[in-house]
């Protein structure tokens, strides 16, 4: 669970991290102000199955673009990429086009996220 860029609002990230842990997943929370390369490195080092980003500032499109560039460059496309936060509905198709696998704007139920990860982590 990563907080990319400069946004410091981590309530959602921590709540979801907590919920995923309760659902039985191993969760590593990166803390704030992470650069995209640093997030990718941590995901590789920790051998993560899922990379989750929490973005509340509205910068989700530029950040995800950067992330997917690096994901492709490092050939770690087998990892599931999910993003949550303050994301207007109209941006969801764009994010999907960029390559984000799952988009979970604020208020989504925990079990929706868990189900998605459990299903996709098998087939991805």
């Amino acid at each position: 669970m990563a907080k990319p860029g400069l946004d410091g609002h981590d309530r959602g990230a921590k709540v979801v991290a907590h919920a995923m842990r309760e659902a039985g997943m191993e969760v590593i929370y990166t803390g704030l102000h992470q650069s995209v390369p640093s997030i990718v490195n941590q995901a590789i080092q920790e051998d993560a199955d899922v990379i989750g980003l929490s973005i509340m500032s509205g910068a989700h499109i530029p950040i995800c673009k950067k992330l997917m560039e690096l994901v492709n460059k490092q050939a770690i496309g087998d990892k599931l990429i999910v993003v949550g936060g303050v994301i207007p509905n109209k941006d969801i198709p764009t994010l999907k086009d960029i390559g984000v696998n799952g988009i979970f704007p604020g208020g989504v139920h925990f079990n929706e996220i868990v189900k998605f990860i459990e299903e996709k982590a098998i087939t991805h």
């Binding site: 907080k3 860029g5 400069l6 946004d7 410091g8 609002h9 981590d10 309530r11 921590k14 709540v15 991290a17 907590h18 919920a19 969760v27 590593i28 929370y29 803390g31 704030l32 102000h33 650069s35 500032s57 509205g58 910068a59 499109i61 530029p62 950040i63 303050v86 207007p88 109209k90 704007p105 604020g106 208020g107 139920h109 925990f110």
Partner: protein
């Protein structure tokens, strides 16, 4: 969020009401309750404007003066923001509250690689004094006060504000700026920190010391329980943590040899309004009383004016929903009502599009109109502290007081607020509560209209404030031009002097003033502090 937990029977009768702060509400309160709690008008309330100020800090409240409205405003380049300032003022807003973009808040210039995608997004981009000159052009700085929502680099922004005002011909004793300048709450619930705890608190002490002597109309800190509440703590904890944070800053300045009485009167607070209306009003009344009593007890503050809890009580953002966004207009109205009943000096509202993006003009103006209708039509200016004497509210105020003290005691036990934040104790507690609350919402144990109840309806298309990529290009271009046209030797000299002062533990403010005047950039000044102080490492609470 922030609503009470209700236990109902199968007929929808309410059996139990428990406020988020942990207090139970009875169906009926009577004079017996006042006897039970030992209610004494003089001791517990006193008249408005009299110690302990439970009823308000001013004898006439809104009768003498309307509250100040201060919507959080700023985006794009300084020109854009200047335009929006003027629009809001022309529509009747009486104060400013400046929003800075994340690079500025994090001490980064617009051309910094980490700033990519963020320049002018959540607030306005400020790289140097030149940008401030544009942002505040034609604003009457001796008539209108400006809140500056800035924390890690508040010292820099306050110096820049003074430099800008003096350039426009204002005297430093005429201007009124309120930098938020509360780093401890950043570390708990907002995340815009840079430096480690100790030097960050020292910078706050420097601004308080400097303002005491040089900027008599400025409020050097606005201790913000607001964001800790937004992050998930209870209303009672919001006040506990805010007071403990305030004491940490007071202690820093007192350790320099000053008396709290000499500067604490310029402290202000930034506190949250949402959820249960009774809990909110009781919270603020208890907060005023405790601040005054504790200042007297802990610091022997006697001067009446120095005991006032002055604050912006603002409508919280996390209560606003993405679903059925028009509901947020009504939420805003109820929050405004709560703020008025609580005797707020200053107020603001998160606008109805809060869950989507920063406010459009239309949304911001609706917030202003909410306040104006409340004050000019509905009667909230008629009398001071209208709920005083209510069997219910006086009982609840006393119970909130006890709860707040209980939570403060817990922080004292772990060694005080600085230790509690450095170790992650507060952050853990807040995250735990946030998780519990979210579970309650998802399981339907707490009601959120439009989200888990009454979810049928038309979801309107919300007009979105649009981000413009051009703003970043413009800022970066201007930054380049500035660096070429300014006296770079003067900049270098001023930064060298700043570094020396920072290392020698001198008050950095006069040096920052010189840096700003020579058009050093926010990034350049912040980096001096980065070199001297290093960076904060978040305690791992997972």
């Amino acid at each position: 969020m922030g609503v009470a937990t209700y236990i109902k029977d199968e007929k929808d009768a309410i059996k139990e009401v428990t406020l988020q702060s942990g207090i139970e509400i009875k169906p009926v309160y009577t004079p017996d309750d006042l006897d039970r709690i030992g209610f004494d008008y003089q001791k517990d309330l006193a008249d408005p404007g009299e110690f302990p100020f439970t009823r308000g800090i001013h004898p006439l409240g809104f009768r003498s003066r309307n509250w100040t409205t201060r919507q959080y405003t700023g985006f794009g380049t300084p020109e854009e923001t200047n335009e929006r300032f003027k629009l809001m003022i022309s529509h009747g807003q009486t104060g400013l509250n400046v929003a800075f973009d994340l690079p500025t808040q994090m001490g980064l210039d617009s051309d910094d690689p980490m700033a990519e995608g963020e320049v002018g997004r959540v607030g306005m981009a400020i790289d140097s004094l030149r940008d401030f000159e544009i942002a505040f052009k034609d604003i009457q700085l001796n008539r209108i006060g400006a809140g500056l929502t800035i924390n890690a680099v508040a010292s820099i922004m306050l110096a820049m504000y003074q430099a800008m005002a003096e350039k426009f011909g204002y005297k430093k004793n005429e201007i009124s700026a309120t930098p938020q300048n509360d780093i401890l709450k950043e570390m708990v619930g907002r995340g815009a920190w840079i430096y480690p705890v100790e030097p960050a608190v020292r910078l706050i002490g420097d601004t308080i010391e400097y303002a005491m002597k040089e900027l008599p109309r400025c409020n050097p800190v606005s201790v913000a329980g607001y964001h800790i509440r937004e992050s998930g703590c209870t209303p009672a904890q919001e006040i506990s943590y805010a007071l403990m944070i305030a004491f940490a800053y007071i202690d820093n300045v007192v350790a320099r040899g000053y008396k709290a009485e000499d500067f604490v009167g310029r402290f202000s607070f930034n506190l949250n309004v949402y959820g249960n209306i009774w809990e909110t009003v009781a919270k603020f009344r208890a907060a005023r009383k405790l601040w005054a009593k504790l200042l007297r007890e802990r610091y022997d503050v006697q001067n009446k004016k120095a005991l006032f809890l002055r604050g912006i009580f603002g409508g919280g953002g996390s209560g606003m929903t993405k679903q059925q966004p028009e509901n947020n207009i009504m939420r805003g109205a109820y929050y405004a009502l709560a703020a008025a009943l609580s005797g707020a000096q200053t107020t603001a509202l998160c606008s109805f599009d809060e869950a989507y993006t920063i406010p459009t003009e239309r949304a911001a103006l609706l917030s202003l109109r909410t306040f104006q209708i409340l004050m000019d039509e509905i009667g909230l200016r008629d009398t001071v502290d209208p709920l005083a004497g209510s069997y219910f509210l006086e009982t609840l105020t006393k119970e909130m007081e006890a709860k707040i003290l209980e939570e403060m005691e817990k922080v004292e036990k772990v060694g005080g607020m600085i230790e509690a934040v450095s170790s992650g104790y507060v952050q853990k507690e807040v995250a735990r509560q946030a998780y519990e609350f979210e579970k309650k919402i998802q399981e339907g144990r707490v009601t959120k209209v439009g989200v888990n109840k009454y979810t049928e309806g038309v979801d309107m298309e919300v007009e979105l404030h649009e981000y413009n990529d051009e703003w970043a290009n413009l800022q970066i271009q201007r930054l380049g031009e500035l660096k070429e046209s300014r006296d770079n030797k003067a900049v270098k000299d001023s930064l060298t002097a700043l570094e020396k002062a920072a290392r020698e533990e001198k008050n950095v403010m006069p040096y920052l003033l010189e840096c700003c005047k020579s058009y050093a950039t926010v990034g350049e000044m912040s980096n001096v502090f980065r070199d001297v102080f290093g960076e904060f490492v978040e305690p791992n609470i997972f």
